[in-house]
Assembly symmetry: C2
Homo-oligomer: 338 residues x 2
């Protein structure tokens, strides 16, 4: 087990390195932090920390930098979550208020998060599977052509065009609309399938085909559109990465363009509480030198989607975590109000 002071040394190394972006040596450490011991002692501690794999030297005769394992320990045991300052909180509120629709909320959130953390922000749209139905609308566009519009409690709207096997009258359609809504409004998407399974039976023979088609499309929409959407922003912050960077930045940009990768990334995050994935803990290769801080957010007590930031492993974890958490809370609040 590592002594208290060695942990303190590790913390100091992480803090310094995050600040300066340069390998930190024993002398500099004792100067900047009141460790109360001499450089030589620190050197011994460093040797021990290196032995355990928490820090490493880029090359002999250079200072030490934290390894992924070092950051992990730092995040788990040495760092808290830094709460935002009051002006920062106020800024968040001002920035998010005045959003007019869901797109706007997500867009503002992404910009806010990117600005606050000076990193790349990723915000997932509220997931269909976990939200509830606000309304289902059926529009007859042509005798045998119906448009299905699905509205969620988070303000998301999905529409599908349906070619019906047979024409359906306005009355039947209105009937179907009414029954459908009375059954599913306010219910969770996951419950919908059972709720509508027997609905076709109560219709006239001639309409059953169409009703089934409509219901099938509805269910399909629920499944298909579980394919989540998300928005990213702040990619320009990637340029602050390293000075070496074409090599560093390229795979990251590539990874960020693959929605699938990002969705998996957020999906891996715990449903509640904050998740921090550091460097190689990320499955995707392109993100091996980045860390992801993600958290769920929702209109109620339950998470309907996730948001987070992607940045260099060498990031200000307490600050980033604080910002991410704060933003998630406010967004949840906004969603609950609307």
């Amino acid at each position: 087990m590592l002594s208290e002071r060695r942990l303190e040394v590790l913390r100091a190394i992480v803090q310094d390195y995050v600040g300066t972006e340069e390998p930190v040596g024993s002398k500099a450490l004792t100067e900047r932090h009141r460790l109360g011991v001499s450089p030589a002692t620190v050197r011994n501690d460093m040797a021990a920390l290196e032995e355990e794999g928490f820090i490493a030297q880029p090359h002999t005769s250079a200072g030490r930098i934290p390894t992924d394992k070092g950051y992990r320990l730092f995040v788990d045991r040495l760092a808290g979550v830094k709460p935002l300052s009051t002006p920062e909180r106020r800024a968040i509120q001002n920035f998010l208020d005045g959003a007019v629709d869901l797109d706007d909320v997500v867009g503002r959130t992404v910009r806010l998060l990117a600005q606050l953390t000076r990193q790349v922000a990723v915000v997932q749209y509220p997931s269909l599977t976990r939200s509830t139905v606000r309304h289902v609308e059926l529009l007859s566009l042509a005798p045998a052509r119906v448009m299905l519009v699905l509205i969620t409690d988070t303000g998301r709207v999905e529409q599908r065009m349906i070619d019906c096997p047979a024409p359906i009258g306005e009355t039947s359609l209105a009937d179907l609309r009414a029954r459908l809504n009375s059954r599913v409004v306010g219910r969770r998407f996951t419950d919908v399938p059972q709720l509508v399974s027997d609905l076709a039976d109560s219709f006239e023979q001639e309409d059953r085909g169409t009703v089934s088609t409509v219901l099938a499309t509805l269910l399909e929409t629920l499944v298909e559109e579980t394919e989540e959407r998300l928005m990213i922003g702040g990619t320009a912050n990637l340029t602050r990465f390293g000075h070496d960077f074409p090599l560093t930045i390229r795979p990251v940009l590539e990874a960020l363009e693959e929605q699938v990768v990002l969705l998996k990334l957020l999906g891996e995050a715990k449903d509640s509480g904050m998740t921090v994935r550091i460097g190689h803990e990320n499955a995707h290769e392109g993100l091996n030198s980045t860390s992801v801080v993600a958290v769920g957010y929702g209109s109620g007590d339950e998470a309907v989607a996730k948001l987070g930031v992607v940045g260099p492993t060498r990031m200000d974890y307490p600050g980033t975590m604080g910002a991410v958490r704060a933003v998630a809370r406010y967004v949840g609040q906004i969603l609950a109000e609307s």
Copy 2:
């Protein structure tokens, strides 16, 4: 006026520089292109071209590179639009077919364009102002709360929540819905204001307030949502820029994140025909070392939106223009079919 041969020399310089990314010298030129003259002659021509500002030397004793003005001349007079190969055309078709909705079409287009040109692709969503109304739907969510859903011929859906001054009955709402649709379906958005201006008059006194509110919101949606959306992709291609690049790439990424900038960029493009803006011709400072190739696309003969690519001024103009034009045509076709 420049002699024919000098133009030929300029063309050769542009082609070589685009290929090698290195300043091109007189000797190399005569070797790679059958100009039929000696390096010394080419040198004289180069001196003349430099005098006129079409090319420049990064430093004494280096080859020449084209200036923005040089590229301009190249694009205007020396280069055609390179048509795509048959396999490329087929690839486009395969890639775009099978798109399920508007988001999907735009998403696929962006990826396709980025891949084809190996540059950053920008695709604007079909604009509301130039499209026509397919359907207007009114949903009563609560006694004094109505949702307005607007569906365009390009498949775009906009919705707005309306708080009514007074409750409105289902019958009146259905009446309004019917009249509204009979007046505006199939009409262009720009015509809608006149078409509905007197609609409130024909309603009962008690409903007039609500009807006016609904109409006002409808008009507002038309105006507000002229705030266009767009999608970008292929930012990872920016890493192919230069080797110098933190400095180059940063302002570009920043510019690309500002939708406003991009919209202005596309907006500046001519409505019909292809527009190429080279280097400093772009108003935005961050894009001073990039060129933009943009073109309108639409479901009919008229452009409903624009798409294009952003890349280094040193780009393969004929190839890029060919790809952009071809993609725009296919997308227009897809939109017309749906």
